[in-house]
């Protein structure tokens, strides 16, 4: 559980750093997630008050965007591209293999907290698909063997 004094101290710094920015809510949420790994629900009322918007508005924005997490992710995050160019190179097959090997469906985290499996729609690696992103690192020309190697490394 996040200690509330730490949270509010860090939030105050983030809010101060964004105070002169026009339309600062997304940059604030990105900064919060970069620090804490997710957007703690306790943070939303504080952000809302600072920006003079309702809590419902802050929640609405946060929940609209796929990037923002309500809960911490696993220690590793594997994002597999599901879009058409990767499909044309067998992306669906590779994704099914990854789901089976990890025993996870999309958006799920393994019980030991090691890995979260997320779908992603396009990394701009459409000429070297199927593509993936592991903890921010880009991977192209993915196949089943590479998936097994990745899982071996992170498990």
């Amino acid at each position: 559980m996040l200690d509330s004094a730490t949270l509010s101290a860090r939030l105050e710094e983030i809010l101060y750093a964004h105070k002169d920015m026009e339309g600062s809510l997304l940059p604030i949420l990105h900064a919060v997630q970069a620090d804490f790994g997710y957007v703690p629900p306790e943070a939303l009322p504080i952000i809302a008050k600072d920006l003079n918007i309702t809590r419902a508005e802050a929640h609405g924005v946060m929940s609209f965007y796929h990037d923002f997490r309500e809960k911490p992710a696993g220690r590793h995050v594997l994002k597999l591209c599901r879009a058409e160019a990767c499909q044309a190179m067998g992306g669906d097959r590779v994704a099914a293999h990854a789901q089976k090997a990890l025993g996870l469906d999309w958006h799920e985290t393994s019980a030991d907290g090691a890995v979260t499996l997320d779908p992603i729609f396009c990394l701009g690696l459409c000429a070297c698909g199927p593509a993936a992103m592991l903890d921010g690192k880009l991977i192209g020309r993915l196949d089943e063997a590479r998936i097994d190697a990745i899982i071996g490394d992170i498990k």
């Binding site: 339309g23 940059p27 058409e84 044309a88 190179m89 729609f121 396009c122 990394l123 992103m133 192209g140």
Partner: protein, 508 residues
């Protein structure tokens, strides 16, 4: 010794960072003085990671490299197992007309000296000596149309903003390149970010805007990093700031990062997102050109539209306009993707036939199987069968075949593709990414997925229902997400009817 190795995402995804590290280590162990420039990609993704060595004859290319190929880069170059010859002589490079991408892969993206040496800031210098109306007229005369997909004349948009009266105006660059098969924006931002900055400044001069935003999707970490550094560099060099190149005109740029919502590539949804709101589409009118960011007149242009502006001012509107066909003027960066032998970015004048692009430039499929379909224009673009391969690449030409060129991405599929599944995916994707504001998109996409599932189970009566639903979505949706999802669905149904009948026959 001077070496080039791309920092481009595709090169990095194929191992360029590891190769760079090995090059440094090898040079160090041999005591060789090394200058390794991390440049943009030349666009030959099939040859990445591709290194170039500077020689008296020109830059020699080597690729696709593996770690084992690194030591030989320091030996007899001609004997290197991955030697490709001079980069400029490669067939892929020679046949192109590189205007917007002229410097991508050539220069160090973050060197102002390199940028100036290759014609950078020439266009801006010329624009600084022109009146606002003259700048707008130059863009209008070039025939440049929105490269994001809508194809709206850029000059007309600029004129609307220029003529509007307001205390503040904005230039917003739409770098939310979410369409599968498109990566031109990413490559431009990673390989020649200063061109985009220069184009945005010219847009500012033309309209009286003093502030610009680049809204980049979060899926592009390298592009975000390069653009942020380029803005800092341009500010330090006096290109951005209170007095652009000492002219007295103010213009500054801020980089903003999206948060994984495809619909934010739609301009009004992007503006809401930039304002810190949910990325919900706005009804038009009012046009963003009159009431855009924070209700002020705003130019919203795609990366490639803005990045094509400097070369128009450098070489003149006439020069640019002389390329192309019909009402599609200038060049277009084709992004060749999916199941292809030669994938990558290929900038050429409008007018090539789809067949030339797929069979000749792309070299057919990577799998070696026959091409079944090509989706042109991303997830909202139509699937083209071989029968339509004579269609010339242009806005009106594709519209005439119930398709669109969109952002000029092409995804090639071989004969293992099931077009009913592709149609279903289009509806499913629309359901996931719908902003929820209008009913035809929000509900229609879900019902569309269900209806296609009925067809898959052999219910032929669901086919007219799907067609009807698509017509409702097409004419009733607020933006292109719901409005264009019928393109992939109906084109799959029209051109590949067998894929929609198979189950029915099995059931009978």
């Amino acid at each position: 010794m001077k070496l080039y190795l791309p920092l481009d995402s595709a090169a990095v995804a194929l191992g360029a960072d590891e190769i760079a590290q090995a090059i440094h280590l090898h040079a160090k162990s041999k005591g060789i003085e090394l200058e390794l420039v991390r440049n943009g990609s030349r666009g030959m993704v099939f040859l990445e990671p591709m290194a170039e060595v500077e020689t008296p004859a020109g830059r020699m290319a080597f690729g696709p490299l593996t770690l084992a190929d690194v030591p030989a880069l320091f030996g007899d170059l001609a004997a290197h197992p991955k030697a490709l010859g001079l980069t400029d002589d490669l067939p892929w490079m020679r046949a192109q007309t590189r205007l917007t991408f002229a410097r991508v892969g050539v220069i160090d993206p973050l060197s102002m000296a390199d940028y100036r040496a290759q014609g950078g800031l020439t266009g801006l210098t010329r624009a600084l000596a022109m009146a606002k109306a003259e700048i707008v007229a130059e863009v209008t005369n070039s025939g440049l149309r929105g490269r994001g997909g809508a194809g709206f004349p850029t000059g007309i948009k600029w004129k609307t903003v220029s003529d509007a009266q307001a205390d503040r105006k904005y230039i917003v660059c739409n770098a939310d390149e979410g369409d599968s098969a498109t990566f031109a924006d990413r490559m431009l931002m990673e390989g020649d970010p200063l061109t985009l900055i220069e184009g945005m400044i010219i847009a500012g001069l033309a309209t009286g805007a003093t502030k610009g935003f680049v809204y980049i999707r979060s899926e592009y970490p390298i592009a975000i990093d390069v653009m942020q550094k380029a803005v800092v560099l341009a500010q330090a060099e006096g290109v951005l700031g209170a007095s652009v190149m000492g002219s007295g005109h103010a213009f500054d740029i801020e980089i903003r990062v999206g948060a994984g919502a495809y619909v934010c590539g739609e301009e009004t949804s992007l503006l809401n997102s930039l304002e810190g709101k949910r990325g919900v589409v706005r009804a038009k009118p009012p046009l963003p050109a009159l009431e855009g960011f924070m209700g002020k007149p705003t130019v919203v242009n795609n990366v490639i539209s803005l990045a094509s502006v400097p070369v128009i001012f450098e070489k003149g509107a006439e020069h640019y306009k002389n390329f192309g066909l019909g009402r599609s003027r200038g060049t277009i960066p084709l992004q060749i993707a999916g199941n292809v032998k030669f994938g990558g970015l290929y900038e050429i004048a409008f007018g090539l036939s789809l067949g030339e692009i797929v069979d000749t430039i792309a070299g057919g499929t990577a799998s070696g199987r026959p091409v079944k379909a090509v989706q042109v224009g991303g997830p909202l673009g139509a699937y083209f069968p071989r029968a339509l391969f004579d269609t010339p690449f242009g806005y009106e030409e594709f519209a005439g075949k119930e398709g669109l060129i969109g952002h000029a991405g092409l995804t090639v599929f071989d004969d293992t593709a099931d077009m009913l599944s592709q149609a279903r995916f289009a509806m499913e994707f629309c359901a996931i990414e719908s902003c929820g504001k209008c009913t035809p998109c929000r509900i229609g996409a879900v019902r569309g997925t269900e209806t296609i599932d009925r067809i898959a189970k052999g219910d032929a009566a669901a086919i007219p229902l799907l067609t009807d639903l698509c017509n409702t979505m097409k004419s009733g949706s607020l933006c292109a997400l719901g409005g264009f999802t019928p393109y992939p669905v109906l084109s799959a149904l029209t051109h590949f009817p067998d894929d929609f009948n198979a189950m029915k026959e099995a059931a009978e």
